[in-house]
């Protein structure tokens, strides 16, 4: 069945993808620019990559961000899977509407509000019970987990809703107790969704600027905070190099994931 390929649709698609990718391409090109003036071409060079690798501040911040992201992703996946199962499989429970709302709202809540609210919470807690004494790794992680778990919940809930419920019923019919059935049947089948959720939470945490700005302390800055302080003043060449590295890693990751999905389907 041939679809009449509308010329209009095609040109909009082409424009849209160009719009999405031209900035990325330009950053990649300029990361190899020898000139310090980031926008004038001075010859091909990889010096900015070298400078980036020697930049203590960036490296420390990157390491901190990665740690936070791993813990956040793991916690959000655990809590988000629980929440997704609760919403998809348990029909009625007290406070379900509220729960559902609390899980949807973080998806769209402006980050300044989330950040402000969590900082005020930590300050109040500190006044009340003396913890958290220092804001830093733990507060950022808790903040990130709170909003990331909403995304994992959505992914897991959709996957569960699409899954044939009679699989779990069949397992119970054959003698599996409910908890056993979760581990034997449900979790293995939603594993891809859980992995996708973990990766999404990881990315969101790694990328977050606003919330981290609110809830971090004198202890350390995250990578986005360092990047932001540098770019506030304008374009800087070593950030071009960092951006290119990011693009390369993500692209590689996406290609690997796509290839793996293709292979498992065969």
């Amino acid at each position: 069945m041939s679809r009449r390929r509308s010329g209009f649709t095609f040109s909009v698609l082409a424009f849209g993808y160009a719009f999405l990718y031209i900035p990325l391409v330009s950053v990649i090109i300029y990361s190899f620019n020898d000139s310090r003036l980031a926008t004038v071409w001075g010859g091909f060079s990889t010096r900015w990559y070298g400078e980036l690798m020697r930049n203590e501040q960036v490296l420390t911040a990157a390491f901190l961000s990665l740690q936070i992201a791993v813990v956040t992703a793991t916690l959000s996946t655990i809590f988000g899977t629980m929440a997704g199962m609760a919403l998809a499989r348990f029909r009625r429970f007290r406070g379900r509407t509220l729960f559902s709302g609390m899980v949807t709202a973080p998806l769209v809540m402006p980050e300044v509000i989330t950040g402000l609210s969590l900082l005020l919470l930590f300050v109040s807690l500190q006044q009340l019970i003396g913890w958290p004494a220092q804001r830093g790794f733990s507060t950022i992680t808790m903040a990130h987990t709170t909003f990331a778990l909403a995304y994992v919940t959505v992914i897991v809930q959709s996957r569960l809703a699409a899954m044939d419920e009679s699989l779990e019923e069949a397992a119970m019919d054959l003698g599996g107790r409910p908890l056993r059935v979760v581990f034997d049947i449900t979790l293995p089948l939603i594993a891809p969704a859980m992995v996708a959720g973990w990766l999404l939470a990881f990315t969101l945490s790694l990328d977050d600027l606003v919330i981290a700005s609110f809830v971090s302390g004198p202890g350390g800055s995250t990578l986005p905070m360092v990047i932001f302080s540098k770019v506030k003043l304008g374009v800087t060449p070593d950030i071009n190099a960092l951006a290119t590295l990011f693009i390369a890693i993500v692209s590689l990751g996406v290609v690997i994931a796509w290839w793996a999905a293709l292979r498992s389907r065969r």
Binding site: D164, S166, L167, E169, A170, A171, M172, D173, L174, G175, G176, R177, R180, D184, I185, P188, L189
Partner: protein, 375 residues
């Protein structure tokens, strides 16, 4: 209770499943309305009805996935109404088969025994035995997405039967199969049941399927059980318009009783333009409304005046006909417009049709062939 039911009961002893006054309400909606059933050992019992009549809900209550709003369910004499599905001695074959996609055929079949914590070597030997029974040994290491629909059904069967349940529940077992495979599977299921001696409870909307498979059928209508009987009883002696119409095709004549004498009821039917007779011992007063019904194959069709052995004869015209190879179906228009369906076997081998459109015909039947239904 008819003679046949009595025999079954005596042969099997106490019923293996007793559904006592079970109802299921979903909010305001009544899915199952005060159903009473006795299912006997070793029989293939079908619950037949249209979509939404409550038959699947009833089956799920027997399996344990729904709790009755009212009533109790006894399995082998024990009240299991409040027992969860993983502790009931019944197993279910789901309409979608529900084969675990992330496990091989072997692992699927072994699952139930693993939950029973049976010893490893015992599991292995019983799995092989079961796969042998359903002829899937060479597919044991395959994953479900590599199997055909029919093969997946056999995995579902093997997986349920390996636990040696007292009762196997089947939800629309033949619905997803094409015609040839359906016929083959019907006989396979019956053979399996006979060999293993397990009670089967089948839920279906296909009355042909129910008629072929079952030793007894329960016809369900909007949550209520209309009639329970053998296929023959339900077909030849329906007790309501719904059952008569649901099973096969039937011609219905509404009318009022003229008299009941010597076991024969005379009914004046305006649609037929005549007084029709039926064998009946009921004590209905003259003037009561009844419905007389007769199956298409019980009607004799001829172009000549029929012999006297046929008690009832009506004139009509062939309005439509259909040739099906082994039989022909006729729609005959009576003098005042009513259409009667007649089926006749094509006994004679001939290139010419026996009857043509617009032929004048006589349709006739005996008084014994007529069923009396409530008006």
């Amino acid at each position: 209770m008819t003679a046949t039911e009595k025999t079954n009961n005596e042969a099997g002893g106490a019923p293996i499943i007793q559904v006592k006054d079970v109802s299921k309400h979903f909010g305001d909606f009544v899915a199952v309305d005060s159903v009473n059933l006795d299912i006997h050992r070793r029989e293939i019992f079908s619950i037949l009805g249209a979509s939404g009549c409550g038959k699947t809900t009833l089956l799920r209550m027997i399996a344990g996935f729904e709790s009755p709003t009212k009533g109790r369910i006894f399995i082998d004499g024990v009240d299991l109404t409040d027992v969860p599905p993983y502790r009931r001695p019944v197993n279910m074959m789901f309409q979608s088969y529900a084969i675990f996609p992330h496990m091989t055929v072997e692992q699927n079949v072994a699952y139930g025994l693993q939950k029973e914590r049976a010893p490893r070597n015992q599991i292995a030997s019983r799995v092989s035995e079961m796969l042998e029974l359903v002829q899937l040994q060479q597919f044991r290491k395959r994953k479900p997405d590599q199997l055909s629909g029919g093969q997946r059904q056999r995995v579902a069967l093997a997986r349920a039967l390996i636990k040696r349940p007292k009762v196997l529940l089947l939800d629309e077992p033949l619905a997803a199969l094409d015609k040839k495979l359906r016929e083959h599977t019907q006989f396979e299921l019956m053979g399996l049941q006979d060999r293993l001696g397990i009670t089967f409870v089948v839920v279906t909307h296909d009355q042909e399927e129910a008629m072929i498979l079952s030793s007894r059928i329960a016809v369900m209508n909007e949550g209520r059980m209309d009639q329970v009987g053998t296929p023959k009883e339900v077909y030849e002696y329906p007790n309501s318009r719904f059952v008569a119409d649901f099973i096969g095709t039937i011609n219905m004549f509404d009318g009022s009783v003229e008299s009941v004498q010597d076991g024969v009821m005379a009914v004046r039917c305006d649609a037929a333009g005549a007084t029709l007779r039926a064998v009946s011992s009921s004590a209905l007063a003259p003037g009561s409304h009844v419905c007389l019904a007769i199956r298409p194959e019980k009607i004799f069709i001829s172009q000549e005046e029929p012999q006297s052995k046929w008690n009832t004869s009506l004139r009509g015209v062939v309005a439509d006909l259909g040739y099906f190879g082994n039989l022909s179906l006729y729609r005959i228009r009576l003098e005042n417009g009513k259409i009667v369906q007649v089926s006749a076997q094509n006994r004679r081998r001939s290139a010419e049709r026996f009857l043509e459109w617009d032929d004048q015909v006589f349709i006739s039947w005996t008084t014994q062939s007529v069923v009396v239904l409530p008006g």
